[in-house]
């Protein structure tokens, strides 16, 4: 019963969020909040997607940029070849991201976590090289895109993208929450704590990791897809920027990885800090702030923001080995 009331509260929250986003697109005339908000929403979705594997299962994906970039370029290729609408671009990106997650997961998830991390670095470089050599999508020179006309009820494309990204956030959070509360979430948590013990307690660790990797990959690529239309431009070095990897990881850890709300909080905090700094201090100090925040949080608040908020976690972090 408790669980049900939680669920009701959650979905009510989601509904309020989406209605708020939708009415914001109808009421607010100034476009800047949508540009900046899009970026923050994108990072929320990315961080939540990352957490499904990196947080719940403890397998660090360094290749967020690979999945993100694959999303961008799936959208670009599809749009250029067929002029497919945004929804199709996103769906296709999700499928490609899922296949990619399956491939890299099958290859390396049997091994210790760090091998998976390194394999994802390699993956990012290989795919970026591939895109650089793929002339159809502009190769290294990049490609400029013309947005199709915007659909009702939106009066500008950016507002629509903002709404779309909000839906992706809801999907990512919904999936993350579902996993967390399901058998799968418990299995992932068990294998993160102790993989052999989990296996011997009946947890199909490889299968769970693979599924988590596929879901996480699909979401990351889906989040990347609208970026092509947001920028109306794509180039490999921006699409495969290491920033996506580091930000997703940093946001997730700063927020806390044990609960889906962690990466959401982390992304809001770090994302808006970065947006804020970009238009205030606006210099290399930005990067310094990211570095210092990262170090301070992993050292001082091992369970992230949610650890600071929820005493149960704080108590345990300081506990004995």
């Amino acid at each position: 019963m408790n669980k049900r009331s939680h669920s009701i509260a959650f979905w009510a929250g989601v509904a309020v969020f989406l209605v708020a986003v939708l009415s914001m697109t109808q009421i607010v005339r100034n476009e800047y909040p949508f540009f900046a908000g899009y970026v923050i929403l994108q990072f929320i979705a990315l961080a939540v997607a990352w957490t499904i594997l990196g947080g719940y299962a403890g397998y660090v994906n360094f290749g967020t940029n690979a999945f993100f970039g694959v999303g961008v370029y799936t959208a670009v290729a599809l749009f250029k070849a067929t002029g497919a609408p945004l929804v199709v671009q996103i769906a296709a990106a999700a499928v490609v991201g899922m296949l990619l997650g399956f491939g890299v997961g099958l290859l390396t998830l049997r091994m210790r976590g760090i091998f998976f991390s390194i394999a994802t670095i390699a993956l990012a470089i290989i795919i970026e090289t591939f895109v650089m050599n793929w002339r159809f999508v502009g190769g290294a020179a990049g490609i400029q895109l013309q947005r199709p006309p915007v659909m009702a009820p939106f009066d500008s494309y950016v507002k629509m993208l903002f709404f779309v990204q909000a839906i992706l956030v809801v999907i990512a959070v919904g999936i993350a929450r579902y996993i967390q509360n399901s058998r799968m979430g418990r299995g992932l948590q068990a294998l993160r704590d102790d993989e052999l013990a989990a296996e011997c307690t009946g947890v199909p660790t490889l299968k769970l990791k693979l599924v988590a990797c596929m879901i996480s990959g699909a979401l990351m690529s889906a989040v990347g897809a609208p970026a092509a239309m947001y920028l109306q431009y794509a180039d490999p070095s921006s699409a495969f920027n290491l920033t996506y990897s580091v930000s997703a990881l940093a946001m997730s850890l700063i927020g806390g990885t044990a609960h889906w709300i962690g990466p959401v909080l982390g992304a809001i905090l770090l994302g808006s800090t970065q947006q804020f700094l970009a238009v205030t201090i606006s210099s290399e100090v930005n990067v310094l702030v990211l570095g210092i925040m990262l170090v301070l949080f992993v050292v001082g608040a091992p369970k992230g923001i949610i650890g600071l908020l929820r005493p149960r976690y704080r108590l345990r972090a300081g506990g004995k080995q």
């Binding site: 650089m132 013309q146 947005r147 070095s237 921006s238 606006s282 210099s283 930005n286």
Partner: protein, 414 residues
């Protein structure tokens, strides 16, 4: 877009309503831009920004624009395309700037082109390359001297053919700018029936160029066209020096980014000799116009404090010129109306510290003023030498020429 006309109206009222010249009494004219201050383009971005700041200080010292002070609103775009849309949205919708300058380079500029076109805003381009060719925005004006897309390769190949070059090797970085250059180079070569005997694209972060240069040498080209980025330019020249490039090569260089920057030039020193490379401004006598010398006097002083390129030839004077053009347009149209400014910019020739500038329909220069210059008599470890004329002799364009090509490459290196 009702708000836009409202904004325009407000500005018109502000401009027409008060003729007073007291700077402090009126709100300043805000010019907004992003500029790469971190990441790969930061070196150029910071130098460019300093040029623009010097212009701002000069114009304010003279009483500002339309009697109003000029203020810059600048944000860091981290050299990335994904940052600029939000920044320009903020500049326009929140900061309500009066005029927009583009960030240095093509990548950060590309995503804002559709935005300014849709909003009908004037954008002063800052060294991007062919960014408007597909967008076709009629209120875009690039400060760079590039001119028509193919003129770059054409001028280099003109020099090469005059020196007796018959076939070409093409070595290009797998990055946006270099690939655009390579595309036009292949086209021009094809039109002129110059066979391309070697065509390699090398990846970013290549550590060692000895292998590539050996392969290039084995193809025995007599024209070597290189389009490279700063870290690679140094690596390529070192490898050429060590491995050798063969006596057949008549001319070497063309599109090497980085050989315009003081740090790179002083690092390479004598390795530069003989290289024919593009440039935008050089301390040769043909390059001094009204105010040029004064500009560099100020720049040299302020560059030390700002920790930017001590020479600042490549970008800084063009940042200044961008300001000069806008100032001329605003002063003669007596308004901040963007359509009016654009019309003025398109229809007139503008005097600037980098020479007269006239725009074609696409917002690029009517004719190219991209220099091709040959390094001569450069010594090691000396930045100051580059301030004197004769170190980089201008071979092209003819109007600005200060010497003739020494060929073959090996002879020019001595």
């Amino acid at each position: 877009m009702k708000r836009r006309t409202f904004l325009g109206g407000a500005m018109a009222v502000a401009v027409v309503g008060h003729g007073s010249s007291a700077l402090a009494q009126q709100p300043p004219i805000k010019i907004g831009m992003s500029m790469p201050q971190t990441g790969g383009l930061a070196g150029g971005g910071k130098a460019s920004l300093l040029g623009i700041e010097i212009w701002r200080d000069d114009i304010n010292a003279k009483g500002g624009l339309l009697g109003r002070k000029v203020e810059l609103v600048v944000y860091d775009d981290k050299s990335s395309a994904s940052e600029t849309p939000a920044i320009y949205a903020k500049l326009v919708d929140v900061d309500k700037v009066d005029l927009l300058f583009a960030p240095y380079a093509t990548v950060p500029t590309a995503p804002i082109m559709p935005f300014v076109k849709q909003r009908g805003l004037l954008l002063m381009g800052n060294f991007s390359f062919q960014v408007n060719s597909k967008v076709g925005h009629d209120m875009w004006f690039n400060n760079a001297p590039w001119g028509p897309a193919d003129s770059w390769a054409a001028s280099f190949l003109d020099l090469a053919q005059k020196a007796g070059g018959k076939n070409m090797a093409l070595l290009t970085a797998d990055q946006e700018f270099a690939q655009n250059l390579a595309l036009t180079a292949r086209d021009v070569a094809k039109k002129r029936n110059i066979p391309v005997v070697f065509d390699q694209v090398y990846p970013p972060n290549t550590v060692e160029f000895a292998s590539i240069i050996r392969a290039l040498k084995a193809a025995k080209p007599d024209i070597v066209y290189v389009a490279s980025y700063p870290p690679d330019s140094a690596g390529i020249l070192r490898a050429v020096n060590e491995i050798g490039i063969g006596d057949d090569v008549k001319i070497f260089g063309g599109g090497m980014v980085g050989l315009q920057f003081a740090a790179v030039m002083s690092n390479l020193g004598s390795l530069l000799n003989g290289v024919v490379n593009y440039n935008t401004w050089l301390p040769e006598k043909s390059m001094y116009f009204d105010g040029t010398k004064e500009f560099f006097d100020k720049y040299t002083k302020r560059a030390i404090e700002a920790k930017v390129d001590p020479l600042g030839y490549y970008l800084a004077p063009f940042g200044y010129a961008m300001g000069e053009m806008v100032a001329a347009a605003v002063n003669s149209t007596k308004s901040l109306d963007q359509k009016g400014i654009a019309k003025y910019l398109r229809e007139n020739e503008h005097k600037t510290i980098v020479g007269p500038i006239a725009f074609a329909a696409d917002g690029e220069r009517k004719e190219t003023a991209t220099l091709q210059a040959q390094f001569r008599g450069v010594k090691d470890k000396d930045i100051e030498q580059f301030r004197s004329s004769g170190k980089q002799v201008i071979l092209f364009p003819d109007k600005l020429k200060t010497g003739d090509l020494i060929s073959p490459f090996e002879a020019a290196r001595k």
